[in-house]
Amino acid sequence: MDVAVSNQQTRNKIHPHKFALWVACASITMMFMAWTSAYVVRQAAGNWLEFRLPNIFFINTALLLFSSVTLHASYIFFKREKESLYKGLLLVSFLLGITFLVLQYIGWQDLTNIGVELTGNPAGSFVYVFSGFHGLHICGGLAAIFVAIVHAFALKFKVTAKRKLRFELTLTIWHYLDFLWLYIITFIVLQS
């Protein structure tokens, strides 16, 4: 179905689908930047609750970064035709992603326990919005990894240009979501 794509790939360094994905990431970034700007504006207006982010969020950040590493390793092993490592690490990344979501949820509970509730002061509400929408995007990323897993186990192992591209797209999504979370958590820490 890639009708348009076939014609000039050779003349372009970057594949159009990959380029399109970057553009999509830019627009998601805009959405989060809008929220963080709203945070700054609202914070400047006073009546702002000060609190420390529960530790679990920091642990979780490390976990998410680690999942990026495992996914990247899986990609490298895919290219080197190390089939079992490639498949194994793909699964590990997926599980790490799920764990991340679970821990984020526990993080929300920790927040509630220290009295920072969704419906309280906007300082807290914003944290729920950031992590909630990031979590939704993580679900999308997990779906992409899930498709990659299905391909890995259902198709006969073979390194083709098309499958490499697919993997690279998945990898880009996941690294991007990682970066997005880093932006969010750094922002919250620096602002408070």
Partner: protein
């Protein structure tokens, strides 16, 4: 000499073209072979363009029809509207004397829906969706969009957004009624007004679906322009249409997510009990316990999209107009590069002027000053464009086709409406003007009418490309002159009413002595609006009649244009060119050079030709 007059695009493309082996893959054979995949879930950009156009027309009729109903209320408040009861049901209350009156709540719902529908569904999706889809692949020499699948999804998200919005019209509490800008607290508190209940929920859902549609479309347009241009089609050789669509898509991609972010927070406030935008509110004398938010924060987020949005609407129209003016004046567009730079400048500036909508919202006057300056600077690139359009016309060998008339009409409207923008952009003058009919006049002329004119110019000009037939020119000219005069008749008087202080968004002025002498003016405006609405129905008739019965296109390039879309066969199939794809040798504006009428972009540059781009 002869190569120009007698050249055959097929032979030229076969000799000079670029072979991408497109048809070796036999896409053409099995691709979209049945009715459903060909006309409904089509992935062909030309069909998707038509889907956007016809859906946009549907919404234009609904949206404009609503304005006729509320104009009746404004122009003839004492007349009975009982005859509308079969259509509006309980929203028309009939008293013992048999006099029917429009429910005030529903008046607001109509105004809100009118704005939302026209701004988003008609002038964003219907305009940019239609022509970006139709022209981007055809004019840059691509087989289709970078991702035909996403392109199809873009249309269907728009369709879904429309279904949700349409169903909100039938709610017992009515559709959303707090204005197209959906300011809180009206948009957040369901108890604030009946439209703020389920109506607002559906409104938000619909617009979020719409944002998804715009983003999917925009991602495609940008990627396609940057990655799929044919050989020789450098950025500086692209027609201005493509530049306009391209920059529009970038603006959309950067600003629509911000709108979505605002809507998500509205949803949180509505459904989950947060207080991002709520504080110190009393309902029925009782204080609401939701505090800590800021309604002005919403306005910032909204207008950060809202202002770029007006350029998302107008830039595609500007692109279409530039192209039509040049083709029908048989002259190269004056100042091509200046046109591109001013598009870029407008795009950039459009992101830093949003607070001119908030001069009266209690923002710091010193901050307002900065926004005044940026706002007034936008007049510079706007003026450059106007100057270049007029200069393009000057001394041209003008063909007054319907398309050309609408393009010239666009320039007129853009000047008239742009000038009042300069009034409003001064925060001191805006104290008097804000939320009056002066603002209504300003944005309808500069955006509403102008963008419609750009769209009409585009439709009359590219109709043969879409349907292989021409629209009726006589009806087209009646359509133009009626609409041109009628639109001024509607909106010009509004400037005076507005300067006298008559506020917008009021159901009735009967209780205000100060405004009573505008009764006759309001009647006049309403009558003009009804006439103009009737003329648009004439256009719709012409459109559909011409699809099946219009004069057939017998040559490929009826307007003698240079651009690539006119080198495709009259019945353009999937993949656009039957054999190789054309290679481009020159810019899009080689008109009237060396005594020749025009040089198509696919024509190689010959030795004895004067300078080309």
């Amino acid at each position: 000499m002869d190569t120009v007059t007698t050249f055959d695009p097929d032979i030229l493309i076969e000799e000079q073209g670029y072979d991408d082996h497109f048809h070796d893959h036999h896409h053409g054979d099995k691709y979209q072979s049945n009715f459903i995949t060909h006309y409904v879930f089509s992935q062909d950009h030309k069909i998707i363009a038509k889907q956007f156009l016809i859906t946009g027309m549907f919404w234009a009729i609904i949206g404009a029809g609503m304005s006729i109903i509320f104009r009746l209320q404004l122009g003839f408040p004492e007349e009975s509207l009982a005859w509308l009861q079969p259509l509006l049901g309980k929203w028309i209350a009939i008293n013992e004397a048999g006099i029917g009156t429009l429910d005030p709540q529903f008046y607001y719902a109509l105004v809100t829906m009118h704005g939302t529908i026209l701004v988003f569904f008609v002038l964003t999706a219907g305009l940019s969706g239609t022509f970006s889809n139709l022209l981007i692949p055809l004019q840059i020499g691509a087989r289709d969009m970078a991702s035909p699948l996403l392109n199809m999804l873009s249309y269907w998200f728009f369709f879904l957004a429309g279904v949700v919005m349409f169903s909100s019209l039938f709610l017992s509490t009515g559709p959303f009624s707090g204005g197209w800008t959906a300011y809180p607290p009206l948009s957040i508190l369901p108890q604030a007004s009946s439209g703020s209940a389920a109506g607002m929920t559906l409104w938000t859902v619909s617009l979020i679906l719409f944002v998804v549609s715009v983003l999917l479309g925009g991602i495609n347009y940008i990627t396609t322009v940057l990655n799929l241009r044919t050989k020789g089609m450098t950025m500086w050789r692209m027609p201005l249409t493509i530049w306009a669509f391209f920059v529009t898509a970038i603006i959309g991609l950067l600003s629509f997510p911000v709108l979505a972010s605002a809507f998500f927070l509205v949803i949180f406030d509505r459904e989950l009990g947060t207080s991002f935008f709520l504080s110190d509110i009393y309902i029925g004398g009782e204080a609401l316990d939701r505090v800590g938010g800021s309604p002005v924060l919403y306005q910032h987020l909204f207008w950060f999209l809202g202002h770029p949005e007006v350029y998302i609407i107008i830039l595609p129209a500007m692109g279409l107009v530039s192209e039509v003016l040049s083709v029908h004046a048989r002259k190269p567009i004056f100042g091509y590069k200046a046109m591109v730079y001013s598009i870029l400048a407008i795009a950039f500036l459009s992101f830093i002027v949003w607070a001119h909508h908030m001069f009266m919202s209690g923002v710091n006057p010193f901050i307002s000053n900065i926004f005044v300056i940026f706002t007034l600077i936008i007049a510079v690139p706007s003026a450059v464009k106007v100057f270049n359009w007029i200069t393009t016309l000057y001394g041209g060998n003008i063909r007054f086709t319907s398309a050309m008339l609408f393009a010239i009409g666009f320039v007129s409207m853009f000047i008239s409406g742009g000038l009042t923008g300069i009034f409003l952009g001064n925060s001191a003058i805006d104290i008097q003007m804000h939320d009056t009919y002066f603002v209504v006049a300003h944005f309808h002329i500069v955006m509403g009418i102008a963008a419609f004119f750009g769209m009409f110019a585009g439709i009359y000009n590219w109709f043969p490309k879409m349907y292989g037939r021409f629209m009726n020119e006589t009806l087209g000219k009646i359509h133009f002159w009626g609409t041109f005069i009628g639109a001024y008749a509607i909106f010009w008087p509004m400037h005076y009413i507005g300067m006298a202080g008559v506020p917008r968004r009021y159901y009735s002025f009967e209780t205000f002595d100060a405004f009573s002498h505008f009764d006759a003016t309001n009647k006049f405006i309403t009558v003009a609006a009804i006439v103009v609405f009737g003329l648009q129905l004439l256009f719709v008739v012409n459109f559909f009649y011409s699809i099946w019965k219009g004069k057939r296109m017998t040559t490929r390039n009826p307007w003698g244009a240079t651009t690539l879309e006119w080198t495709t066969p009259i019945d353009t199939g999937h993949g656009n060119w039957p054999g190789k794809i054309p290679v481009v040798h020159r810019w899009a504006y080689d008109y009237g050079k060396d005594g020749r009428e025009f040089y198509p972009q696919i024509l190689p540059v010959s030795e004895d030709e004067s300078e080309t781009h």
